[in-house]
Amino acid sequence: MSDVCIIGIGIHPFGRTDGLSGLDQGVFAVREALGDAGLDWRDVQFAYGGSDAAGNPDTMVERLGLTGIQFINVKNGCAAGGSALSSAQMAIKSGAFEIGLAVGFDKHPRGAFNALPAEYNLPEWYGDAGYMITTQFFGAKIMRYMHEYGISPETLGRVSEKAFRNAVHAPHAWRREPVALDVIMDAPLVSDPYTKYMFCSPAEGGVALILASEKKARELGKPLIRLKAAAMRTRPAGSFEVFAPSIDIKRGGSATRIASADAFRLAGIGPDDIAVAQLQDTEAGAEVMHMAENGFCQDGDQEQWLAEGLTEIGGSLPVNTDGGCLACGEPIGASGLRQVYENVVQLRGDGGGRQVPGNPKTAYSHVYGAPGVSAVTILER
Protein backbone atom coordinates (compact mmCIF):
# COMPACT_ATOMS: atom_id res chain seq x y z
CA MET A 1 0.00 0.00 0.00
CA SER A 2 1.24 3.53 -0.76
CA ASP A 3 2.33 5.74 2.12
CA VAL A 4 0.72 8.77 3.71
CA CYS A 5 2.98 11.83 3.46
CA ILE A 6 3.34 14.99 5.54
CA ILE A 7 3.29 17.88 3.07
CA GLY A 8 2.89 20.90 5.34
CA ILE A 9 3.87 21.85 8.89
CA GLY A 10 3.06 24.82 11.12
CA ILE A 11 3.64 25.74 14.73
CA HIS A 12 2.75 28.53 17.13
CA PRO A 13 5.68 29.04 19.50
CA PHE A 14 5.27 27.20 22.82
CA GLY A 15 5.40 28.88 26.21
CA ARG A 16 3.16 31.69 27.41
CA THR A 17 1.33 33.97 24.96
CA ASP A 18 -0.92 36.38 26.83
CA GLY A 19 -3.86 37.63 24.82
CA LEU A 20 -4.03 34.60 22.50
CA SER A 21 -6.36 31.71 23.26
CA GLY A 22 -5.34 28.12 22.69
CA LEU A 23 -7.63 28.06 19.67
CA ASP A 24 -5.95 31.21 18.29
CA GLN A 25 -2.62 29.40 18.48
CA GLY A 26 -4.11 26.37 16.72
CA VAL A 27 -5.50 28.54 13.92
CA PHE A 28 -2.09 30.25 13.57
CA ALA A 29 -0.43 26.84 13.18
CA VAL A 30 -2.98 25.67 10.58
CA ARG A 31 -2.40 28.80 8.47
CA GLU A 32 1.36 28.27 8.66
CA ALA A 33 0.97 24.63 7.61
CA LEU A 34 -1.30 25.56 4.69
CA GLY A 35 1.24 28.15 3.57
CA ASP A 36 4.03 25.59 3.89
CA ALA A 37 2.07 23.11 1.77
CA GLY A 38 1.00 25.74 -0.73
CA LEU A 39 -2.64 24.87 -0.19
CA ASP A 40 -5.85 26.70 0.62
CA TRP A 41 -8.18 25.73 3.47
CA ARG A 42 -10.74 24.71 0.82
CA ASP A 43 -8.33 21.97 -0.32
CA VAL A 44 -8.45 20.26 3.09
CA GLN A 45 -11.01 17.45 3.08
CA PHE A 46 -11.02 16.42 6.74
CA ALA A 47 -9.44 17.21 10.11
CA TYR A 48 -8.71 15.59 13.46
CA GLY A 49 -8.06 18.06 16.28
CA GLY A 50 -6.72 17.54 19.82
CA SER A 51 -7.11 19.87 22.82
CA ASP A 52 -7.24 18.96 26.49
CA ALA A 53 -8.14 22.25 28.18
CA ALA A 54 -8.63 24.88 25.47
CA GLY A 55 -12.01 24.08 23.97
CA ASN A 56 -13.35 22.06 21.06
CA PRO A 57 -10.95 22.11 18.09
CA ASP A 58 -13.75 21.88 15.48
CA THR A 59 -14.86 25.40 16.40
CA MET A 60 -11.86 26.67 14.42
CA VAL A 61 -13.88 26.25 11.20
CA GLU A 62 -15.47 29.58 12.14
CA ARG A 63 -12.02 31.14 11.68
CA LEU A 64 -10.65 29.08 8.81
CA GLY A 65 -13.73 28.89 6.62
CA LEU A 66 -17.11 27.21 6.70
CA THR A 67 -16.41 24.67 3.99
CA GLY A 68 -18.50 21.90 5.56
CA ILE A 69 -15.37 19.88 6.27
CA GLN A 70 -15.48 16.69 8.39
CA PHE A 71 -13.79 17.70 11.67
CA ILE A 72 -13.44 15.18 14.53
CA ASN A 73 -12.30 16.21 18.00
CA VAL A 74 -9.84 13.98 19.87
CA LYS A 75 -9.49 13.91 23.65
CA ASN A 76 -6.96 11.29 24.65
CA GLY A 77 -4.78 12.81 27.37
CA CYS A 78 -1.13 13.26 26.42
CA ALA A 79 -1.68 11.01 23.39
CA ALA A 80 -4.27 13.41 21.88
CA GLY A 81 -1.94 14.68 19.14
CA GLY A 82 -0.61 11.24 18.31
CA SER A 83 -4.16 9.88 18.23
CA ALA A 84 -5.24 12.66 15.86
CA LEU A 85 -2.33 11.86 13.57
CA SER A 86 -2.95 8.12 13.71
CA SER A 87 -6.62 8.67 12.85
CA ALA A 88 -5.79 11.05 10.01
CA GLN A 89 -3.37 8.55 8.55
CA MET A 90 -6.03 5.83 8.61
CA ALA A 91 -8.57 8.13 6.94
CA ILE A 92 -6.22 8.61 3.99
CA LYS A 93 -5.10 4.98 3.91
CA SER A 94 -8.73 3.90 3.72
CA GLY A 95 -9.01 5.74 0.41
CA ALA A 96 -11.82 7.96 1.68
CA PHE A 97 -9.72 11.15 1.51
CA GLU A 98 -6.58 12.51 -0.13
CA ILE A 99 -5.71 15.61 1.93
CA GLY A 100 -6.30 16.11 5.64
CA LEU A 101 -5.22 17.98 8.75
CA ALA A 102 -4.02 16.86 12.18
CA VAL A 103 -3.99 19.81 14.59
CA GLY A 104 -3.38 20.14 18.32
CA PHE A 105 -3.34 23.11 20.67
CA ASP A 106 -3.70 23.89 24.35
CA LYS A 107 -3.46 26.57 27.00
CA HIS A 108 -3.10 25.50 30.65
CA PRO A 109 -3.16 27.62 33.81
CA ARG A 110 0.19 28.30 35.47
CA GLY A 111 1.53 25.79 37.98
CA ALA A 112 1.13 22.03 38.31
CA PHE A 113 -1.85 20.28 36.76
CA ASN A 114 -4.68 20.29 39.31
CA ALA A 115 -6.35 16.89 39.09
CA LEU A 116 -9.42 15.81 41.05
CA PRO A 117 -10.05 12.20 42.19
CA ALA A 118 -13.47 11.89 40.52
CA GLU A 119 -11.92 12.59 37.10
CA TYR A 120 -9.83 9.45 37.53
CA ASN A 121 -12.48 7.26 39.14
CA LEU A 122 -10.66 7.44 42.48
CA PRO A 123 -12.16 7.83 46.00
CA GLU A 124 -12.28 11.30 47.58
CA TRP A 125 -9.89 10.37 50.42
CA TYR A 126 -7.09 9.93 47.87
CA GLY A 127 -7.21 13.62 47.06
CA ASP A 128 -7.89 14.69 50.66
CA ALA A 129 -4.70 12.97 51.83
CA GLY A 130 -2.50 14.68 49.21
CA TYR A 131 -1.91 11.92 46.65
CA MET A 132 -3.40 13.62 43.55
CA ILE A 133 0.03 14.92 42.55
CA THR A 134 1.59 13.82 39.26
CA THR A 135 5.12 14.67 40.41
CA GLN A 136 4.86 12.09 43.23
CA PHE A 137 4.42 9.37 40.63
CA PHE A 138 7.28 10.65 38.48
CA GLY A 139 9.58 10.77 41.50
CA ALA A 140 8.66 7.31 42.78
CA LYS A 141 8.93 5.74 39.31
CA ILE A 142 12.46 7.00 38.61
CA MET A 143 13.64 6.25 42.19
CA ARG A 144 12.82 2.59 41.61
CA TYR A 145 14.39 2.63 38.15
CA MET A 146 17.61 4.23 39.44
CA HIS A 147 17.75 1.60 42.19
CA GLU A 148 17.26 -1.31 39.78
CA TYR A 149 19.53 -0.14 36.97
CA GLY A 150 22.19 2.03 38.56
CA ILE A 151 21.21 5.40 37.10
CA SER A 152 22.76 8.38 38.91
CA PRO A 153 21.17 11.77 39.65
CA GLU A 154 23.85 13.36 37.40
CA THR A 155 22.42 11.47 34.42
CA LEU A 156 19.05 13.10 35.10
CA GLY A 157 20.83 16.47 35.23
CA ARG A 158 22.57 15.82 31.91
CA VAL A 159 19.19 15.23 30.23
CA SER A 160 17.96 18.66 31.36
CA GLU A 161 21.24 20.31 30.46
CA LYS A 162 20.99 18.90 26.91
CA ALA A 163 17.36 19.99 26.57
CA PHE A 164 18.07 23.65 27.34
CA ARG A 165 21.21 23.63 25.19
CA ASN A 166 19.31 22.25 22.17
CA ALA A 167 16.41 24.67 22.65
CA VAL A 168 18.73 27.66 22.13
CA HIS A 169 18.47 26.83 18.41
CA ALA A 170 14.72 26.06 18.31
CA PRO A 171 12.64 29.20 17.62
CA HIS A 172 9.44 27.47 18.81
CA ALA A 173 10.90 26.46 22.21
CA TRP A 174 10.00 28.25 25.45
CA ARG A 175 13.11 28.07 27.64
CA ARG A 176 16.01 28.92 25.35
CA GLU A 177 18.79 29.81 27.80
CA PRO A 178 21.44 27.18 28.59
CA VAL A 179 21.51 26.04 32.23
CA ALA A 180 24.73 24.63 33.67
CA LEU A 181 24.74 21.12 35.13
CA ASP A 182 25.70 22.28 38.62
CA VAL A 183 22.85 24.82 38.62
CA ILE A 184 20.43 22.05 37.64
CA MET A 185 21.77 19.70 40.33
CA ASP A 186 21.85 22.33 43.10
CA ALA A 187 18.36 23.72 42.43
CA PRO A 188 15.56 23.07 44.97
CA LEU A 189 14.05 19.59 44.94
CA VAL A 190 10.41 19.37 43.81
CA SER A 191 9.84 15.63 44.22
CA ASP A 192 13.00 13.67 44.99
CA PRO A 193 15.23 13.02 43.09
CA TYR A 194 14.03 15.73 40.70
CA THR A 195 15.01 19.38 41.04
CA LYS A 196 12.93 22.14 39.49
CA TYR A 197 14.92 22.04 36.23
CA MET A 198 14.09 18.36 35.75
CA PHE A 199 10.33 18.83 35.29
CA CYS A 200 8.56 20.41 32.34
CA SER A 201 5.74 22.90 32.94
CA PRO A 202 2.21 23.01 31.61
CA ALA A 203 2.29 25.57 28.77
CA GLU A 204 0.62 26.84 25.60
CA GLY A 205 1.10 26.26 21.91
CA GLY A 206 -0.33 24.90 18.68
CA VAL A 207 0.89 22.56 15.93
CA ALA A 208 -0.65 21.61 12.58
CA LEU A 209 0.35 18.96 10.05
CA ILE A 210 -1.12 18.61 6.56
CA LEU A 211 -1.21 15.02 5.35
CA ALA A 212 -1.75 13.71 1.84
CA SER A 213 -1.78 10.45 -0.04
CA GLU A 214 1.49 9.66 -1.78
CA LYS A 215 -0.24 10.18 -5.12
CA LYS A 216 -1.46 13.63 -4.12
CA ALA A 217 1.91 14.58 -2.64
CA ARG A 218 3.60 13.69 -5.93
CA GLU A 219 1.02 15.70 -7.92
CA LEU A 220 1.75 18.71 -5.71
CA GLY A 221 5.49 18.22 -6.22
CA LYS A 222 6.18 17.98 -2.49
CA PRO A 223 9.25 16.26 -0.98
CA LEU A 224 8.01 12.90 0.26
CA ILE A 225 8.17 12.77 4.04
CA ARG A 226 6.49 9.43 4.60
CA LEU A 227 4.53 8.56 7.72
CA LYS A 228 5.63 4.92 7.86
CA ALA A 229 3.92 4.17 11.18
CA ALA A 230 1.57 5.84 13.64
CA ALA A 231 0.63 3.55 16.51
CA MET A 232 -1.41 4.40 19.60
CA ARG A 233 -1.70 1.82 22.41
CA THR A 234 -2.96 1.50 26.00
CA ARG A 235 -1.33 -0.17 28.99
CA PRO A 236 -0.87 -3.90 29.60
CA ALA A 237 -1.30 -5.62 32.99
CA GLY A 238 1.25 -4.79 35.68
CA SER A 239 2.26 -1.34 34.43
CA PHE A 240 3.00 1.52 36.88
CA GLU A 241 0.83 4.57 36.21
CA VAL A 242 0.08 7.94 37.78
CA PHE A 243 -2.49 8.10 40.63
CA ALA A 244 -2.14 4.44 41.69
CA PRO A 245 -3.18 3.68 45.31
CA SER A 246 -1.60 0.26 44.74
CA ILE A 247 0.29 -1.56 42.01
CA ASP A 248 0.65 -5.27 41.25
CA ILE A 249 3.37 -7.40 42.83
CA LYS A 250 3.78 -9.04 39.45
CA ARG A 251 5.36 -6.27 37.39
CA GLY A 252 4.51 -5.98 33.71
CA GLY A 253 5.30 -3.99 30.57
CA SER A 254 4.15 -0.54 29.48
CA ALA A 255 1.99 1.11 26.84
CA THR A 256 5.20 2.54 25.38
CA ARG A 257 6.78 -0.88 24.86
CA ILE A 258 3.84 -2.21 22.88
CA ALA A 259 3.26 0.99 20.89
CA SER A 260 6.96 1.07 19.99
CA ALA A 261 7.09 -2.60 18.97
CA ASP A 262 3.99 -2.10 16.85
CA ALA A 263 5.40 0.99 15.12
CA PHE A 264 8.67 -0.77 14.26
CA ARG A 265 6.69 -3.74 12.92
CA LEU A 266 4.54 -1.45 10.74
CA ALA A 267 7.57 0.45 9.44
CA GLY A 268 9.57 -2.71 8.83
CA ILE A 269 12.69 -1.28 10.48
CA GLY A 270 14.32 -1.47 13.92
CA PRO A 271 15.70 0.91 16.57
CA ASP A 272 19.19 0.78 15.01
CA ASP A 273 17.78 2.26 11.80
CA ILE A 274 16.52 5.47 13.48
CA ALA A 275 18.61 8.63 12.90
CA VAL A 276 16.83 11.04 15.29
CA ALA A 277 14.26 10.56 18.07
CA GLN A 278 11.87 12.74 20.05
CA LEU A 279 10.98 10.91 23.29
CA GLN A 280 8.46 12.00 25.93
CA ASP A 281 10.44 13.92 28.55
CA THR A 282 7.89 15.49 30.87
CA GLU A 283 10.61 14.92 33.44
CA ALA A 284 14.28 14.15 32.91
CA GLY A 285 13.99 10.52 33.98
CA ALA A 286 11.19 9.92 31.51
CA GLU A 287 13.64 10.45 28.65
CA VAL A 288 16.05 8.04 30.33
CA MET A 289 13.44 5.30 30.83
CA HIS A 290 11.88 5.85 27.42
CA MET A 291 15.25 5.32 25.69
CA ALA A 292 15.04 1.71 26.87
CA GLU A 293 11.27 1.26 26.62
CA ASN A 294 11.40 2.27 22.95
CA GLY A 295 14.15 -0.25 22.30
CA PHE A 296 17.08 2.10 21.69
CA CYS A 297 19.21 0.72 24.53
CA GLN A 298 19.13 -1.76 27.39
CA ASP A 299 17.95 -0.71 30.85
CA GLY A 300 20.97 0.79 32.60
CA ASP A 301 22.90 1.68 29.42
CA GLN A 302 21.64 5.25 29.70
CA GLU A 303 24.24 6.07 32.35
CA GLN A 304 27.00 5.56 29.80
CA TRP A 305 25.01 6.98 26.86
CA LEU A 306 24.47 10.33 28.62
CA ALA A 307 28.03 10.49 29.96
CA GLU A 308 29.41 9.91 26.44
CA GLY A 309 26.96 12.32 24.79
CA LEU A 310 25.43 9.70 22.47
CA THR A 311 22.05 11.50 22.53
CA GLU A 312 23.49 14.92 21.69
CA ILE A 313 22.79 16.53 18.27
CA GLY A 314 26.05 15.07 16.92
CA GLY A 315 25.73 11.73 18.74
CA SER A 316 24.77 8.32 17.40
CA LEU A 317 21.09 8.86 18.35
CA PRO A 318 20.18 12.53 18.88
CA VAL A 319 17.22 12.73 21.29
CA ASN A 320 14.87 15.71 21.72
CA THR A 321 16.64 17.99 19.30
CA ASP A 322 14.35 20.97 20.04
CA GLY A 323 14.68 20.61 23.82
CA GLY A 324 11.60 18.41 24.19
CA CYS A 325 8.95 19.03 26.81
CA LEU A 326 11.62 20.14 29.29
CA ALA A 327 12.39 23.23 27.19
CA CYS A 328 9.14 23.64 25.23
CA GLY A 329 6.69 23.00 28.08
CA GLU A 330 3.68 20.76 27.66
CA PRO A 331 0.49 22.00 26.05
CA ILE A 332 -1.12 18.55 26.18
CA GLY A 333 -3.07 18.66 22.91
CA ALA A 334 -0.10 20.01 20.91
CA SER A 335 2.87 18.27 22.49
CA GLY A 336 2.88 15.02 20.50
CA LEU A 337 2.49 16.86 17.20
CA ARG A 338 5.41 19.17 18.12
CA GLN A 339 7.63 16.10 18.13
CA VAL A 340 6.50 15.18 14.62
CA TYR A 341 6.91 18.81 13.48
CA GLU A 342 10.50 18.74 14.75
CA ASN A 343 11.14 15.44 12.97
CA VAL A 344 9.90 16.88 9.65
CA VAL A 345 12.20 19.89 10.16
CA GLN A 346 15.12 17.51 10.74
CA LEU A 347 14.32 15.29 7.73
CA ARG A 348 14.07 18.37 5.49
CA GLY A 349 17.44 19.56 6.77
CA ASP A 350 15.93 22.80 8.08
CA GLY A 351 17.15 22.49 11.71
CA GLY A 352 19.74 25.29 11.52
CA GLY A 353 21.87 25.26 14.68
CA ARG A 354 20.13 22.13 15.92
CA GLN A 355 20.24 20.21 12.62
CA VAL A 356 21.30 16.59 12.99
CA PRO A 357 24.30 16.08 10.69
CA GLY A 358 24.57 13.35 8.07
CA ASN A 359 21.33 13.93 6.20
CA PRO A 360 18.98 11.92 8.47
CA LYS A 361 16.45 9.77 6.63
CA THR A 362 14.47 8.27 9.53
CA ALA A 363 12.88 9.93 12.57
CA TYR A 364 10.98 8.58 15.57
CA SER A 365 8.54 10.25 17.97
CA HIS A 366 7.01 8.97 21.20
CA VAL A 367 4.47 10.33 23.68
CA TYR A 368 3.31 8.75 26.91
CA GLY A 369 0.59 9.93 29.25
CA ALA A 370 -1.94 9.18 31.95
CA PRO A 371 -3.23 6.64 32.63
CA GLY A 372 -0.99 4.50 30.48
CA VAL A 373 -1.41 5.67 26.88
CA SER A 374 1.34 5.96 24.30
CA ALA A 375 1.62 7.03 20.67
CA VAL A 376 4.63 6.42 18.42
CA THR A 377 5.34 7.61 14.89
CA ILE A 378 8.10 6.76 12.44
CA LEU A 379 8.88 9.06 9.50
CA GLU A 380 11.07 8.31 6.51
CA ARG A 381 12.35 10.54 3.77
Binding site: W125, D128, G139, A140, R144, D248
Partner: protein
Protein backbone atom coordinates in the same frame (compact mmCIF):
# COMPACT_ATOMS: atom_id res chain seq x y z
CA UNK B 1 -10.49 10.00 65.93
CA UNK B 2 -12.23 8.98 62.71
CA UNK B 3 -10.87 7.20 59.67
CA UNK B 4 -10.43 9.34 56.55
CA UNK B 5 -12.84 6.96 54.81
CA UNK B 6 -14.84 3.81 55.60
CA UNK B 7 -13.41 0.45 54.63
CA UNK B 8 -9.72 1.40 54.38
CA UNK B 9 -8.48 -0.34 57.54
CA UNK B 10 -9.72 -2.85 60.13
CA UNK B 11 -10.83 -2.01 63.71
CA UNK B 12 -8.19 -4.34 65.18
CA UNK B 13 -5.35 -3.12 67.40
CA UNK B 14 -3.02 -2.82 65.63
CA UNK B 15 -5.07 -2.31 62.45
CA UNK B 16 -4.55 -3.71 58.96
CA UNK B 17 -5.29 -2.21 55.56
CA UNK B 18 -8.26 -3.73 53.77
CA UNK B 19 -7.41 -4.67 50.21
CA UNK B 20 -9.57 -6.42 47.64
CA UNK B 21 -9.00 -9.81 46.00
CA UNK B 22 -10.34 -10.39 42.49
CA UNK B 23 -12.66 -13.36 42.86
CA UNK B 24 -11.65 -14.71 39.44
CA UNK B 25 -7.95 -13.94 39.03
CA UNK B 26 -6.82 -13.64 42.65
CA UNK B 27 -5.18 -10.25 41.89
CA UNK B 28 -4.93 -8.12 45.05
CA UNK B 29 -5.44 -4.35 45.02
CA UNK B 30 -5.85 -1.54 47.56
CA UNK B 31 -8.36 -0.15 48.42
CA UNK B 32 -11.07 -2.78 47.89
CA UNK B 33 -13.05 -1.62 44.84
CA UNK B 34 -16.83 -1.30 45.13
CA UNK B 35 -18.95 -3.88 43.36
CA UNK B 36 -19.08 -7.66 43.36
CA UNK B 37 -15.85 -8.51 41.53
CA UNK B 38 -13.55 -8.14 44.55
CA UNK B 39 -13.79 -9.57 48.08
CA UNK B 40 -12.31 -7.62 51.03
CA UNK B 41 -8.96 -8.95 52.27
CA UNK B 42 -7.05 -7.63 55.32
CA UNK B 43 -3.44 -7.12 54.20
CA UNK B 44 -0.20 -7.84 56.05
CA UNK B 45 1.02 -5.17 58.48
CA UNK B 46 4.65 -5.39 57.47
CA UNK B 47 6.46 -4.87 54.19
CA UNK B 48 9.50 -3.31 52.58
CA UNK B 49 10.04 -0.01 50.81
CA UNK B 50 9.65 -0.55 47.03
CA UNK B 51 10.13 3.10 46.05
CA UNK B 52 9.50 6.63 47.35
CA UNK B 53 9.69 10.32 46.72
CA UNK B 54 9.32 13.41 48.92
CA UNK B 55 6.43 15.84 48.54
CA UNK B 56 8.33 19.15 48.77
CA UNK B 57 5.48 21.63 48.24
CA UNK B 58 1.98 21.96 49.64
CA UNK B 59 -0.54 20.32 47.28
CA UNK B 60 -3.35 22.48 45.92
CA UNK B 61 -6.67 22.60 47.81
CA UNK B 62 -9.00 21.23 46.67
CA UNK B 63 -8.52 18.37 46.63
CA UNK B 64 -5.86 18.34 49.43
CA UNK B 65 -7.59 18.60 52.84
CA UNK B 66 -4.51 18.70 55.08
CA UNK B 67 -3.38 21.62 57.23
CA UNK B 68 -2.33 25.00 55.81
CA UNK B 69 1.01 24.63 57.53
CA UNK B 70 3.34 22.52 55.42
CA UNK B 71 6.39 20.38 56.03
CA UNK B 72 7.73 17.94 53.40
CA UNK B 73 6.60 14.33 53.71
CA UNK B 74 7.71 11.08 52.12
CA UNK B 75 5.33 9.23 49.79
CA UNK B 76 6.21 5.57 49.45
CA UNK B 77 5.22 2.42 47.62
CA UNK B 78 5.41 -0.42 50.14
CA UNK B 79 5.63 -4.03 49.00
CA UNK B 80 3.47 -6.30 51.14
CA UNK B 81 4.90 -9.75 50.39
CA UNK B 82 2.71 -11.84 48.09
CA UNK B 83 -0.08 -9.23 48.15
CA UNK B 84 0.34 -5.81 46.57
CA UNK B 85 2.57 -2.73 46.45
CA UNK B 86 0.64 -0.07 48.37
CA UNK B 87 1.05 3.71 48.20
CA UNK B 88 1.32 5.39 51.61
CA UNK B 89 3.05 8.17 53.47
CA UNK B 90 6.07 7.37 55.63
CA UNK B 91 6.03 8.54 59.23
CA UNK B 92 8.59 8.65 62.08
CA UNK B 93 11.42 8.74 59.55
CA UNK B 94 14.30 11.09 58.79
CA UNK B 95 13.95 11.95 55.08
CA UNK B 96 17.70 11.48 54.58
CA UNK B 97 17.68 7.91 55.89
CA UNK B 98 15.02 6.44 53.58
CA UNK B 99 16.34 3.45 51.64
CA UNK B 100 14.64 1.13 49.16
CA UNK B 101 14.28 -2.27 50.82
CA UNK B 102 13.97 -0.95 54.38
CA UNK B 103 11.45 -2.86 56.55
CA UNK B 104 8.25 -0.97 57.38
CA UNK B 105 5.05 -1.48 59.36
CA UNK B 106 1.59 0.06 59.13
CA UNK B 107 0.72 3.05 61.32
CA UNK B 108 -2.31 5.34 61.39
CA UNK B 109 -1.56 9.06 61.58
CA UNK B 110 -3.76 12.17 61.82
CA UNK B 111 -3.93 14.09 58.53
CA UNK B 112 -3.94 17.35 60.53
CA UNK B 113 -2.46 16.83 64.01
CA UNK B 114 -3.66 20.30 65.04
CA UNK B 115 -7.31 19.77 64.13
CA UNK B 116 -9.97 19.48 66.87
CA UNK B 117 -11.27 16.24 65.40
CA UNK B 118 -8.52 14.97 63.06
CA UNK B 119 -9.09 12.17 60.57
CA UNK B 120 -6.75 9.20 60.50
CA UNK B 121 -4.95 8.13 57.37
CA UNK B 122 -2.62 5.21 56.68
CA UNK B 123 1.16 5.46 56.73
CA UNK B 124 4.14 3.18 57.26
CA UNK B 125 7.01 3.61 59.72
CA UNK B 126 10.44 2.01 59.90
CA UNK B 127 10.75 -1.25 61.83
CA UNK B 128 13.80 -2.06 63.85
CA UNK B 129 15.15 -5.09 61.91
CA UNK B 130 15.68 -7.08 65.13
CA UNK B 131 12.17 -6.30 66.34
CA UNK B 132 10.82 -7.36 62.94
CA UNK B 133 12.67 -10.67 63.12
CA UNK B 134 11.13 -11.54 66.50
CA UNK B 135 7.63 -10.29 65.63
Amino acid sequence: MRAIAEGLFTDEVPPRLIGGRDKVTGRIVFPCPPGADFEPLPLGRQGTLWSYTVQRYRPKSPPYAGPEAFAPWAVAYVELPGEAIVEARLTDVDLDTIRIGMPLELALIPLDPGAADPVLTHAFRPVDPEMAASA
